[in-house]
């Protein structure tokens, strides 16, 4: 047994680790133990944990299978990191059409959580670009499915939190890019009204839009709006070589009531200075934190939560405003706070998180009870707005909020693999 914690470092729990090395079958089950696929451990909460049970470590399944330079169709094993795909194929003019804020996640994890990126309003979520996937079930069955064949299995597995079987390999459609660079623009905004105006005005012309939000100053609401487009350029800045590691876990969270205000003040004004257009490499644009390894340690020994919700656009402004008020009043929160509008499109997965509206994501150092009291208030705002929380980030949402936020749950449950269970599934859907 090995102690494993997820990205939020909320606690290390005992697991039996079984590495997967063969994409054609699962290892023999361990009697009376449930299993769960575990990729690179970057989901924040308990969607990737299965304490007391088995974790099938998928990182050994990291082989490319085939790539067509003409069509951009890539087939590979599910344990391959997105960084490996990007670094191998961007120089050849192909890129992942959807990428989250880190490339240090596995392909299988990207599908199982149906991750999204800054271009949701144009490209949808990750599952929209999966052409086929192979599912290994614990009873030995192998299911090949895609958007047009066994589409029900596909819809259950995309965003299915690993509960329908182990994704062993997949075929995805990459998108053409002229090179690694984007033209990006930083626009400071003063309040939520200004954010929504910028978001509306940018969606037609800009593929990537996202905003950093200062969750604490001026009642919470100012921030920096960032937008970007891929460009055909001969030259541009290269990503800085070398990586740094947060060397140790500080005894207390470095993000706290004393540091948050000055940090946010400094960050806002530094970013505001950079206003205007600049050419950036895709790595710092998409993955600003990937060169700081183990950055999750800054929250100290008790770890942290991320709270990410989506609320419908019609009530979005009001709901986000109410949440920011609660956060500013609590004094907690973090400088890692992101606001983004989702496009007006439904996700392909039954249990996928993205839906039309606006999404707010914030980190919170774990202060125990105090943090949970704040979350209960935020939950109330989400519930009232008819929104939902993102399982990939979650370690604590009430089961009732999950069930009300994901109306296709009962349909999804027919596709569950009875040999698979996670801490999250036991917490939210009782098995």
């Amino acid at each position: 047994m090995v102690a494993v914690s997820s990205w939020g470092r909320l606690g290390a729990l005992q697991h039996s680790i079984v590495p997967l090395t063969d994409r054609t079958r699962l290892p023999a089950a361990i009697p009376e133990k449930f299993g769960l696929a575990y990729g690179n451990g970057r989901s924040y909460g308990d969607v990737c944990l299965n304490p007391g049970g088995v974790l099938w470590a998928t990182r050994g399944l990291d082989h490319f299978i085939a790539f067509d330079d003409e069509t951009g169709v890539l087939e590979c094993e599910a344990g391959l990191l997105l960084s490996d795909i990007q670094q191998t194929l961007v120089p050849r003019g192909w890129m992942l059409p959807v990428t989250p804020g880190t490339q240090l996640i596995t392909l299988g994890g990207a599908i199982a959580n149906d991750v999204h990126g800054k271009n949701h309003h144009v490209m949808g979520s990750f599952g929209d670009h999966v052409l086929a996937l192979r599912l290994l079930r614990t009873d030995g069955e192998v299911i090949d499915c895609g958007p047009t064949n066994d589409a029900d299995w596909f819809a259950a597995t995309v965003g299915g939190m690993g509960l329908t079987g182990v994704i062993s390999q997949a075929q995805i459609q990459l998108r053409r890019v002229a090179g690694p660079w984007l033209e990006a623009e930083n626009l400071p905004y003063a309040n939520l009204d200004a954010f929504f105006e910028l978001a509306d005005e940018s969606e037609a012309e800009w593929e990537h839009t996202v905003a950093w939000i200062d969750c604490i100053s001026h009642g919470g609401g100012r921030g920096i709006f960032m937008r970007g487009n891929h460009v055909d350029a001969d030259d541009g800045p290269q990503p800085k070589p070398g990586r740094k590691t947060v060397p140790l876990v500080p005894p207390i969270s470095l993000v706290n009531r004393l540091t948050l205000r000055p940090f946010n003040f400094a960050y806002y004004h530094m970013q505001a200075l950079k206003r205007g257009n600049l050419r950036v490499h895709y790595e710092p644009f998409f993955y600003p934190l990937d060169n700081l390894l183990e950055w999750n340690r800054i929250y100290g020994p008790r770890g942290f939560y991320q709270y990410q919700c989506v609320v419908p656009r019609a009530v979005g402004q009001e709901a986000v405003g109410a949440m920011l008020n609660e956060i500013a009043r609590s004094g907690d929160g973090s400088f890692l706070a992101v606001l983004k509008t989702f496009g007006n499109r439904q996700s392909i997965g039954m249990m996928s998180f993205p839906q039309p509206g606006v999404t707010l994501a914030l980190d919170f150092p774990n202060h125990g009870e105090r943090t949970h009291v704040l979350f209960a208030r935020l939950d109330a705002a989400v519930r009232e707005a008819g929104g939902r929380l993102y399982p990939a980030k979650d370690a604590r949402m009430p089961s009732e909020l999950y069930k009300s936020g994901y109306p296709r749950l009962n349909e999804f449950l027919q596709y569950r693999d009875p040999g698979i269970s996670s801490a999250m599934s036991r917490r939210l859907i009782e098995s």
């Binding site: 047994m1 090995v2 082989h63 490319f64 299978i65 790539f67 191998t88």
Partner: protein, 248 residues
């Protein structure tokens, strides 16, 4: 002319990651030698996607029979002496089984000790004749000092160490480089049971990077990660009365 690299035991995790690094540098001609056909093909497929310009072939040979090793190596050398030969195969035996079953003991010594030596010897002559090339052999920190928990494996790797030393001496006046790599415990399928028990293992990508860098420089001995050079220097010099009290 593409650089020609031969990897024996190519499906071992360290070798596989070395291959990825080499093809990332520039297109090469790569000969992958394995025992498991499915695994070898999976590896070749992967490398072909990563580097479509590289010429990648899979070959099979016996790993124990000296005559078949010789015939296979002669055929490879006849097509041109390789620039780099990496000998990477091995398997971590269960020490307790080796103590009880002499056939298991013999098999462990053969595959981890004798076999790498035979492969190296089959290329050493032609490389010496051509007066170029690098012969890299994966040994282990376990070969530095015998200890009760894995001395059969350690003895085989110790054999590889002495062999590499002698070969370096023989080829010192030539342009042929002999590189002995001594990885510490690395996160690979071979050590999955150690990981399952909670051991701290080195990242296989980092180990492979050290191997590739060390091979490029022609370093005689590479510890990977580097800290093992210091650890093993201490372990080698511990007085016996201290060492024998240690449960390692």
């Amino acid at each position: 002319m593409l650089k020609k690299i031969v990897i024996v035991g190519a499906t071992s995790a360290i070798a596989e990651h070395c291959a990825r690094l080499w093809i990332q540098e520039s297109p090469i001609e790569l000969i992958l030698v394995g025992r498991d056909q499915a695994k070898s093909e999976r590896l070749a497929q992967d490398l072909r996607v990563r580097s479509p310009q590289s010429k990648i072939a899979i070959q099979f040979t016996d790993f124990i029979d000296p005559l078949r090793i010789k015939d296979w190596a002669d055929a490879v050398n006849a097509e041109g002496v390789p620039d780099i030969v990496l000998i990477a195969h091995g398997s971590l035996p269960d020490q307790m089984i080796c103590q009880k079953d002499l056939r298991a003991c013999e098999a462990a010594l053969a595959v981890n000790g004798v076999s790498p030596v035979l492969f190296a010897e089959a290329f050493a002559g032609p490389m010496q004749l051509a007066d170029r090339g690098t012969l890299a052999i994966i040994g282990s920190v376990a070969g530095d000092r015998g200890r009760k928990s894995n001395y059969v494996y350690g003895a085989a790797k110790g054999l590889v160490t002495r062999y590499a030393q002698g070969l370096q001496h023989r080829l010192a006046a030539t342009n042929v480089k002999v590189v002995l790599i001594k990885p510490g415990p690395t996160d690979t399928p071979m050590t999955a049971h150690l990981k399952a028990q909670g051991a701290k293992l080195a990242d296989v990508g980092d180990v492979a990077q050290r191997v590739v860098d060390g091979v490029a420089q022609g370093k005689p001995v590479i510890y990977a990660p580097g800290k093992w050079a210091l650890i093993m220097m201490i372990v080698r010099h511990l007085p016996r009365f201290v060492f024998n009290k240690m449960d390692i």
